[in-house]
Symmetry: C2
Amino acid sequence: MEVFIIGIGLIGGSLAKDIKKQHPEATIHGIDINEGHLDEALEIGLIDAKATRADLVKADWVIIGIPVDALTQELGGILDAVPDDALVLDMGSTKEQICALVADHPKRRNFLACHPIAGTEFSGPSAALEGLYAGKTMIICEVEKTAFKLQEKALELFREIGMRVRYMNPVAHDKHIAYVSHLSHISSFMLGKTVMEKEKNERDIFDMAGSGFESTVRLAKSSPAMWAPIFRQNKTNVVETLNEYIQNLQAFKNLVEQGDFEGMYNEMEATNRIKDILNGIPILNK
Amino acid sequence: MEVFIIGIGLIGGSLAKDIKKQHPEATIHGIDINEGHLDEALEIGLIDAKATRADLVKADWVIIGIPVDALTQELGGILDAVPDDALVLDMGSTKEQICALVADHPKRRNFLACHPIAGTEFSGPSAALEGLYAGKTMIICEVEKTAFKLQEKALELFREIGMRVRYMNPVAHDKHIAYVSHLSHISSFMLGKTVMEKEKNERDIFDMAGSGFESTVRLAKSSPAMWAPIFRQNKTNVVETLNEYIQNLQAFKNLVEQGDFEGMYNEMEATNRIKDILNGIPILNK
């Protein structure tokens, strides 16, 4: 079993760990434009060997965990390079562009469009975690466009590493994920920015920060190289979520300005229902 | 040692637990307008007895953990009711109004204005946690206005339960805390609201939510009864932080709309510095 991981960071590296655990006989090959990451991945045992695009000719599996802009540039060539029975899957946080891009590729049936709802705010090979995917959701788009045998192969792996699978069309995926993921990241980055700007003049402001602040700005530690391409590709949806979010903030600000106690209270009480919703998310309640 | 806890929820109840642990001989009296909470507190052993305002005549300690609007209504009367050597301290999240309110009270020297940077998104007696305050910051305002002996008494308790102490003036406190606490709560509430509004029509949106979303909306579970009064009392500062936050979101939205990759990247990279800042917050790194 020859597995190629293209992009050996948090996402690809964590999957490498899980595959190695389930399939000790597998050889994990790493491909990465960052030579330092590749050396590190080899050193910490994430991969068995360094490889290049030319080696893909012997691939059984190709797993692509690179920023979505690089993904759109590379996927066509990767599909060209693999054998006829190889399975190529991506792990990108946007799905519409990538699915459109390879719609007519002669090896479209070798490709499975995936998005694992898993991760941390860290990046690079050292961020890879065994068991990252256990209990998490794998979203698969346009499953019908992938060869049956390869669908089965992928589902078997996802089952082995403890994932639950949801099928969506790529347009709905990009729209929904803008709300529950992309918007959270921007809200967190801008919150961090707002407080840091203040801190320039107010040195001990962070001395007053508690776990609530930490929780809301955690995502502001995320990798810009990964997120800038996501926001660019999912522009329309991201802008829509931002408009709605800004509108809601503006409305709440008006309530504060007017000292409208009841209005503030009601808004917060209505939003408290998020408790039940979060409790209903299986991946958060393992 | 006769300790009166007024408001026996997350904040007061947690302190009751810590005091009982450090001073098993202390009698903890509970006062609460919510009779159900009082019964619950007695049942789970947070307090030894139920009490009323009239019992304050025998108090050594009075700890007030009630919403800040109730606090401004009650503090004067509480000070009137306690003996001359009692220590009264509040735990409110705003300090300017409360300090101004009692500035000329004949028992001003019996009062210590406190704000513990500790808590969770839960509330009520059952939310009380032993050790909640260990390693956390206690902000004290206008310490010089409290009698020496009572200052010492309070500091001794804070030391016993593992808190570090920071002194600030109430105006600076309210300004800074708006950034690192109040704004986080509003950003979280409005994020929850934005996504829930979308969910009305898109049932499976939350199926796609991961731990990043959970982290950014955690504070939206917080108690409106506690937070609406805070936002009302700290109106000017809260509106200022919201203006800056909305401005930053708007600017980022423009970058997304313009497809300005470099602009987005730079904003996020600059904000990544929050990593070092968060690592530098001792309470988050025990």
